[in-house]
Symmetry: C3
Subunit: 134 residues, 3 copies
């Protein structure tokens, strides 16, 4: 079973999609299997991170923004704005696809794990995420 989700982000940052993915798994009625999440963009990515304390996600974002700066003199690809090339680099350093086992009909996430779509562009976008359950 494959389902496409449209996720509207509100700007740069981690946007939780655990519930949306879990819903696809529930609908598939798969007791035991594998759920694969795939983002169809190169300026947004996927990440599994701590879902408890939001300060961990904020620090992660600050740290990555400092590592992958806007306006770096090394960039030649600039036509789509100062946040475009950093977005591609951040995507390269994180994940385009995630695979999560399904056990007893549920995503086998750890207690503190959430699935996030990471918007790397400054502005919000409509992002396409494809979920495969097999």
């Amino acid at each position: 079973m494959v389902e496409r989700l449209t996720i509207r982000t509100s700007g740069q940052g981690l946007h939780e999609i655990t519930d949306e993915v879990a819903e696809v798994v529930a609908k598939s009625a798969t007791a035991s299997g594998l759920c694969t999440v795939f983002v169809q963009h190169t300026s947004a990515s996927l990440i599994i991170q701590e879902n408890a304390d939001p300060s961990a996600r904020r620090d992660l974002e600050s740290w990555l923004n400092r590592l992958v700066k806007e306006g770096d003199a090394i960039y030649t690809h600039k036509e789509e704005g100062p946040d475009d090339m950093p977005s591609h680099i951040k995507s390269a350093l994180t994940a385009t696809s995630l695979a999560i086992p399904i056990v007893n009909g549920r995503l086998a996430l750890g207690r503190w794990q959430g699935i996030y779509l990471w918007e790397h562009r400054r502005r919000g976008h409509e992002r396409s995420v494809v979920v495969h359950v097999g």
Copy 2:
């Protein structure tokens, strides 16, 4: 087939789990398929690295420790210790899930590839790794 492994790490570093994963594949008696390894934590991650010379793994760790420093003034998430926020960042930069094809009943790893659980916390932990074979 899904099986949960409990891996006891002895502190920060790469802990090889190739044999444990291969054993699940062997038990499943799958001739051709896909093995997915998933770690249920956000302060440990998975990586496929050179299994020959341990100096490559040590250098990798030293390099990442220098990139993702403890005590960075950017961190606000500090209650769980100085090694907690770096652990989340290191996890974000490496993998939470790995997928390895199975060919002729065996993991299709390259000659020099081993599967490692990367403990990012200073102290050893009991880590849950879920292995799916399909």
Copy 3:
């Protein structure tokens, strides 16, 4: 279905393999499923990046070359040349496996996404990539 591709790279950089992977998917005649791509090396990796403007890929490479320098005094693993240890680190920061859903018999890549084998060694190599379709 599992198929091994041999990809000859011509030196450091991103080498597109979208067509080769798509051909395996077409041959498998899978209408709906999952395609997993796995590289059997620890000094080359996989990445999904923008396939339109080559400047994005060049900038990505320049940026990563600056982050992961040759000749870093931290390296002890040097026997295989100055580009060896950086290759392992770059592989660790990018992907060894990628999973892409198959929808209507085709890879569900976004409009601007291409699949690339990233050669991290200076010289070209014959690289083994295993493609699983299920």
